[in-house]
């Protein structure tokens, strides 16, 4: 018996695609002792998930292990047959996945699936089986196990599905659990309970855990050792405290710097211009507007009903000129509904929206595109990939509001204005002829921002503008947004689920839960002394690391 539970040596994985071979993993070596926890972190495309699937040999048809060895206990998994692998999966190695609801069979009850998982490896009597199944549900702390057994995945919440998934994974008491982004898509508070559960089960059952994540905070909180991957290669492996305290590899340093923490400021995000942006020829365009006494926007008693369901319940707030207000809440809190009411894409049920002294809440959303205020209130949407018309070039995307709202017709004038916008967001003018699928995530985000500021709005609504971006790109975009705000005197209404991000960009934060405002305070106050239990819970749930503290310990 070797001292390691799992030892991966010089692993290579290739994918055969229509454009030839892609080497997704290039010489990865990892080691995990029994009962230990290893985090593999990296941004999208780093090969972290491919590594995990290679270990369990669950790569899809196109993927193939082309070199290296995977020693599990005494056997080499690379040369194991399908049947040998099948017998290992479950009792020796098992996995939990991102999007647990999709990972469960939609037309089989949780109970049936648990029985399937058990009976694949063990012969048990009916009663023993039933007993085991109930034990498992108790172990993952699912209340009302009798009901859960009879439920189908669609009848359970995301968090409950992930617990059921964990129950399946531990059903045959594996020695190694691989968790592939297990909490992506879950709310922070759910995320914390799920991860705490995994950690507790691992300790109780002496399971080794490999946690695959893009979230450095998560890895820092739950892993003893962390391997950082970039483009198919492990660039650095170190104990968590050491890795965050004194990262050695330049990529790790950049990644650690770019991850927002409870104390970092935008300047801490340490992003150099060369990491993503293009040096631009921009000049100062406008001086910040002088702040007026009256608020730029006042929302009063906003209420929104969706066929019997109240999504937003009498919410009031205002935004001063040049001010940046953050709106934070978990999914279903009504924050996106509010951002759409304020941006006049949907109608409120009750209440008023006053913009610069004009009541714009009563203009129907279907007519608002013709209003003079359309150009003054603009939006940057979530997921830059989704928010660009796939058949428009970057140029067309930016020119769209100019043509519609500024009624630009002349070709030369349009070109001049579009290029000016591109420069304001440091977007390379040479890329303007490209279609969205030919641009990187960061570039698409810039186009989305350029489009929103093209008509020189006074209020910019930001709807989770960085949620779909890798941390290093997120840092760049956040800095860009902050600079635009200072230089152009914009007001921001920043909607996000990520308190750390909001804190860096906003002076004031509104916390929402189930359609109501829970707390409103200046960012400093909110973090220093949260007034409500809910805010405290939110703050505690944020998986974060503090490099300064890590440095002291390390």
């Amino acid at each position: 018996m070797s001292e390691y539970l799992l030892r991966v040596k010089d692993l290579h994985v290739e994918f055969t695609t229509r454009n030839g071979r892609v080497r997704a993993v290039r010489g990865v070596s990892l080691a995990l002792s029994p009962g230990a926890t290893l985090g593999i972190v990296g941004e999208s495309g780093s090969g972290k998930s491919v590594t995990a699937y290679a270990i369990t040999k669950l790569l899809d048809r196109a993927g193939r292990i082309t070199g290296g060895s995977i020693e599990f206990g005494d056997s080499d998994l690379v040369s194991a047959s399908y049947e040998e692998m099948r017998r290992l999966r479950g009792p020796a190695i098992s996995m939990i996945f991102q999007n647990a609801r999709g990972a469960l069979n939609p037309i089989r009850t949780i109970g049936q699936q648990l029985v399937d998982a058990l009976s694949a490896h063990r012969r048990l009597s009916k009663e023993k089986q039933q007993e085991r199944v109930l034990d498992l549900l108790a172990a993952v702390m699912l209340k009302d196990p009798e009901r859960i057994l009879r439920s189908y995945p669609h009848q359970l919440s995301g968090g409950m599905c992930q617990r059921a998934m964990i129950a399946l994974a531990i059903a045959c008491e594996p020695q190694l659990l691989i968790a592939d982004e297990p909490t992506t898509g879950l709310d922070v508070t759910t995320q914390k309970t799920v991860m705490d559960l995994v950690a507790r089960l691992a300790t109780e059952r002496k399971m080794g855990v490999i946690l695959i994540t893009h979230d450095l905070g998560l890895a820092a909180r739950y892993c003893q050792n962390i391997a950082v991957m970039q483009e198919g290669v492990v660039v650095e492996t170190a104990p968590a405290t050491q890795l965050f305290g004194s990262p050695q590899h330049p990529y790790t340093r950049r990644l650690v710097a770019a991850s927002p923490t409870a104390h970092s400021t935008l300047d801490d995000l340490g992003v150099d211009a060369e990491s993503d942006g293009v040096p631009s020829c921009r000049k100062t365009l406008q001086s910040p507007r002088t702040s007026a006494a009256r608020p730029l926007l006042t929302a009063k008693d906003l209420t929104k009903d969706f066929s019997g369901f109240r999504a937003v319940d009498s919410v009031s707030f205002d935004i001063a000129p040049g001010e940046s207000v953050g709106l934070v809440g978990e999914s279903g809190s009504g924050k996106s509904t509010i951002s759409r009411i304020i941006s006049r894409l949907i109608d409120k049920s009750q209440g008023s929206v006053v913009f610069d002294g004009h009541d714009i809440g009563d203009i129907p959303a279907s007519d608002f595109h013709g209003s003079e205020f359309r150009r003054q209130i603009q939006i940057v949407f979530q997921d830059p990939h989704e928010s660009l018309n796939p058949r428009y070039t970057a140029f067309d995307c930016i020119a769209h509001p100019l043509r519609r709202l500024d009624r630009l017709i002349g070709k030369r004038e349009t070109k001049r204005r579009v290029e000016e916008c591109a420069e304001r967001v440091e977007f390379d003018c040479a890329l303007l002829t490209r279609f969205p699928h030919q641009l990187s995530g960061g570039q698409k985000a810039r186009v989305g921002i350029a489009r929103a500021i093209a008509t020189n709005p006074r209020l910019l609504i930001l709807d989770e503008p960085t949620a779909a971006l890798d941390v290093s790109v997120q840092a760049v975009v956040l800095k860009l947004l902050d600079r635009l705000r200072r230089e152009e005197g914009l007001s921001f209404f920043f909607v996000s689920h990520d308190l750390n991000v909001v804190r860096m960009l906003c002076e004031r934060i509104i916390v929402m839960a189930s359609g109501r405002v829970v707390e409103e305070a200046s960012s400093l106050e909110l973090f220093r002394a949260p007034q409500t239990a809910y805010t405290r819970e939110l703050l505690e749930a944020i998986p974060s690391f503090d490099p300064r503290r890590m440095r002291e310990i390390g």
Partner: protein, 343 residues
């Protein structure tokens, strides 16, 4: 028990939802009858040479002098009492004609559907399990070919090959061999009736009459069924829960059948319903080619003879069959997929 109640509830709801559709068809046929050339009063007058007074009298008895809504009410009353009028060509009430001929059409359609499904499902599944292989390409080729040949051509080709050249198929005229006596009409389905009577000789003869038209029909619907099975099986095999099943070490059989196939069959159920009603329509062509005495050829003959009461009856019959088929499909779907009830 709870599940049964849910499904019953679901079925009842779907039935109620299909009532507007049925009403729509009723109104459609009513209007169609008014638009069609020809004066019903002339048809129903006792004597083709009846004078204008008699026709006027007839018009009164038929209620044709009343306003349209009143006429529609009469029409609905007639239909509710099962009075669909009389066919000019056969001289019999339309209901009697349809009842006589519906079993022939059903026997043909159901046999063809069973034949098509029993080929399409295994082929589609196999093609999905081994995508990109020779087998996959062969299935796709047969399917693309099958959907390109119109039924009236493939039927004639089958007749030419198996009757004219090889001489192994019987004379392509009707459901019964030339020397077979029809069985007592119990269900009207020959294969069933001969079995009940125990006349196996005639049973074999009826079967041999059925094989060519049923194959023609089956060939035509094989493609959409096999394609759908393949696509749906491929999609399911690529989904996350199949990966989960593998990650738990379930046996390959369990993964493919219990986790894969059962999920993949869900869209196939829906498409089978659509295919069945397409077949009811395409039946007209096959019945004409094989001189099959079904409702389709009956309606076609009536249509060509400007005899509209049978056409109306046929359309109503098709609509009712369609509602029944849809209801069956919905119920099956409700049993197979626990998610539908929440919609």
């Amino acid at each position: 028990m709870r599940a049964v109640i849910t499904i019953a509830h679901h079925t009842a709801r779907r039935f109620l939802a299909s009532i507007p559709a049925l009403l729509g068809v009723l109104v459609f046929t009513f209007l169609m009858m008014r638009v069609l050339p020809g004066d019903p009063a002339v048809f129903f007058a006792s004597d083709p040479n009846a004078g204008p007074e008699e026709i006027e009298q007839m018009r009164k008895t038929l209620g044709l002098d009343r306003p349209l809504p009143v006429q529609m009410a009469y029409y609905f009353r007639d239909i509710a009492t099962g009075n669909l009028g009389r066919s000019m060509t056969t001289g019999q009430p339309v209901v009697t004609d349809l009842a006589e001929r519906l079993p022939a059409s059903l026997e043909l359609t159901v046999t063809a559907l069973v034949l098509a499904l029993s080929l399409a499902l295994p082929l589609g599944v196999l093609a999905a399990l081994y995508p990109g292989t020779l087998l996959d390409h062969a299935v796709r080729f047969v399917c693309s070919l099958g959907v390109c040949v119109p039924t009236f051509v493939s039927g004639l080709v089958l007749i030419y090959v198996f009757y004219v050249i090889l001489g192994i198929a019987p004379d392509p005229t009707g459901r019964l061999g030339a020397f077979d006596a029809p069985p007592p009409g119990i269900t009207g389905l020959l294969l069933v009736d001969f079995l009940i009577v125990g006349d196996f000789e005639s049973w074999r003869s009826a079967l041999s009459q059925l094989i060519l038209p049923a194959s023609t029909m089956a060939l035509f619907v094989l493609a959409p069924l096999a394609r759908m099975t393949r696509a749906s099986m491929l999609a399911v095999l690529g989904s996350d829960f199949i990966r989960t099943a593998h990650s738990l070490g379930l046996s390959r059989r369990k993964v493919i059948i219990t986790y894969g196939l059962r999920n993949a069959l869900l869209p196939v159920i829906t498409i089978t319903g659509v295919v069945f009603s397409t077949m009811l329509g395409a039946n007209v062509l096959v019945e004409k080619v094989f001189a099959w005495p079904g409702v389709g050829s009956y309606a076609l003959d009536a249509l060509l003879a400007s005899d509209y009461a049978p056409v109306q009856g046929f359309v109503l019959l098709m609509a009712s069959v369609f509602v029944l088929v849809n209801l069956t499909v919905d119920t099956l779907y409700g049993i197979a997929d626990p998610r539908v009830t929440i919609e």
